[in-house]
Subunit: 324 residues, 2 copies
């Protein structure tokens, strides 16, 4: 039996409407809280939209704290002061790189005034860090942007989201204000799972899964319990129809805790840090405590959740979430 | 206007039945001859099957020479003597070759007696050179196997099929008896075309398209007119239904000459070498001469050919094949 205290998913896509209602039980039954990404159409980038989205999430969940992100734009100081207590962070997508990110900022310097205000108000910055270069180089190339941001805003907490390459791991110890989330799929999969056999569109995501060397570096830093490394699933449901049309994203929510229990293989202290304590300490999160228990009973990942095919569909795990 | 003398596709999949009838006009209208791969179900690996397959090809083509390959198995000397005049080469698709492993090479050593006979009879060896390692390393890792084969059978002509990595280019000048085919898609595409935007299953093939560095190395060696480098399309039609299920292969036949005309951009001497002369000289091919003319008229690649979506479907080219 593994007892987790207040697990938090630091990077989650919940969508809206029917899809939200289909997928959200897999999160609120496994997590006390989750950072909810704002890339809806239109994006969540004002207080009214934020409140209605948060209401939708609360109406469809139990005993669960959504930590809301808003989409980066050229906010005024008044807007941010008004949003400050309602949001966890502001999400920056480099333009045109990921799902529904077309409204993302064209150049990071355009939002420097916003970053100044965020730094002053203590609002963290969440970044999808990829250039628009060659697909396997995009994240590595973005490292210089992370370093520039870290230096230019030394008191701004910057989260390197869903890191997927070994190059970024080194930045964590180089800059006090850089943090990282790691997904389940980047921790476990490589390009072999996407293009190594038959093409598997269900393992397609951005950033793309990478090499064994990258995966091994992520595993090493996660197993080390590094304080600045936090779990963020980037669970991103798409209908199976859209996946077959090439949409990027894995819906990992149904398998997160059983898969991580196998990954940590008894090292429950590190599991607890990765799934909760690091995030709570790094960001002084004040979330109602919630215990989630994993028992040693077989769990079979569902084949479908609504119109969505989950990661590891049909796979058997040796742990299941109690009372779920 | 570009006049090509006796163009040859040194690596082609024609399938059987309706699909063969759908796709073969794109080859016999652009090429004088093609090396036809034997990976049917069951494979072409005996004289009877070879003759019936060749008959099917001849019945459905005009003014076209199929150069037949048979699938590697433990042939006897009598079988090979009987096949010799009917085949161009024997195709080896090594199974279970692991990273740099002696066991992997040993699986090739099982066919050493056949390679001895082939060397004696002057039958070339055609190889799909990939280990079963990490998908991006498979071809590079196979280089040691190519080198061992080249050394162990100095008089056996060995074709490294559809080379996709810069590492193999160097082997051409290191071993007299190693040759290479290059496809249109490895010459023009990278992983960006497969996984750089939305996932594009139509650009999925094995070996997978690789990095800009790899593509640039292939472009350089092809533009150099290197005598041992020959065009082989590996055009491999699959129904659109099977492509969406992850089948590997691009159906490039409809766009080969228009796309290569643009690639060579006026260097028609090198175009002629790549598309015909190198192959004819390397293998003393005696094929009835056939002139194929490209005129400067717009050509739009078809959206569908039967149930197959071609490479570059819908793309406009500035050259078209005359009288086709």
């Amino acid at each position: 039996m593994i007892t987790l205290n207040t697990p938090i998913d630091m990077h989650l896509h919940l969508r809206e409407g029917k899809m939200l209602r289909d997928v959200i039980p897999y999160t609120y039954n496994q997590f006390a809280a989750a950072v909810v990404m704002p890339n809806l159409v239109p994006p969540v980038d004002n207080k009214e939209r934020l409140e209605s989205y948060r209401d939708e999430i609360l109406q469809n969940s139990e005993n669960f704290t959504p930590l809301m992100n808003v989409f980066m734009r050229e906010y005024t100081k008044e807007e941010l002061e008004d949003l400050k207590n309602d949001i966890f962070a502001i999400k920056l997508y480099p333009a045109g790189i990921t799902t529904n990110s077309e409204a993302g900022v064209k150049s990071i310097e355009n939002v420097y005034p916003v970053l100044e205000i965020m730094q002053e108000l203590g609002i963290p910055l969440s970044v999808h860090g990829e250039t628009n270069g060659f697909v396997l180089d995009r994240e590595r190339e973005f490292a210089v942007v992370y370093e520039k941001l870290a230096r230019d805003f030394p008191n701004l907490k910057i989260i390197m989201e869903h890191i997927s390459t070994y190059n970024l791991v080194d930045l964590l110890d180089k800059h006090d204000n850089l943090y990282a989330t790691v997904t389940l799929h980047h921790l476990l999969l490589t390009l072999d799972d996407l293009i190594g056999g038959a093409l598997n569109p269900h393992n397609f995501c951005k950033p793309v899964v990478k090499t064994p060397k990258d995966r091994d570096a992520l595993q090493e830093i996660v197993r080390s319990g590094h304080k600045k490394v936090m779990f963020g699933s980037d669970s991103a449901p798409h209908s199976i129809e859209n996946k077959l049309k090439g949409a990027a994203g894995l819906f990992s929510a149904p398998v997160i805790l059983p898969a991580l229990a196998e990954f940590f293989d008894g090292d429950n202290d590190t599991f607890q840090k990765f799934i909760s304590d690091n995030a709570r300490e790094n960001f002084d999160l004040n979330i109602p405590e919630k215990e989630v228990v994993l028992v040693e009973e077989e769990y079979i990942a569902p084949q479908m959740v609504g119109e969505v095919k989950p990661m590891f569909a049909g796979k058997r795990f040796s742990y299941s979430v109690k009372n779920f």
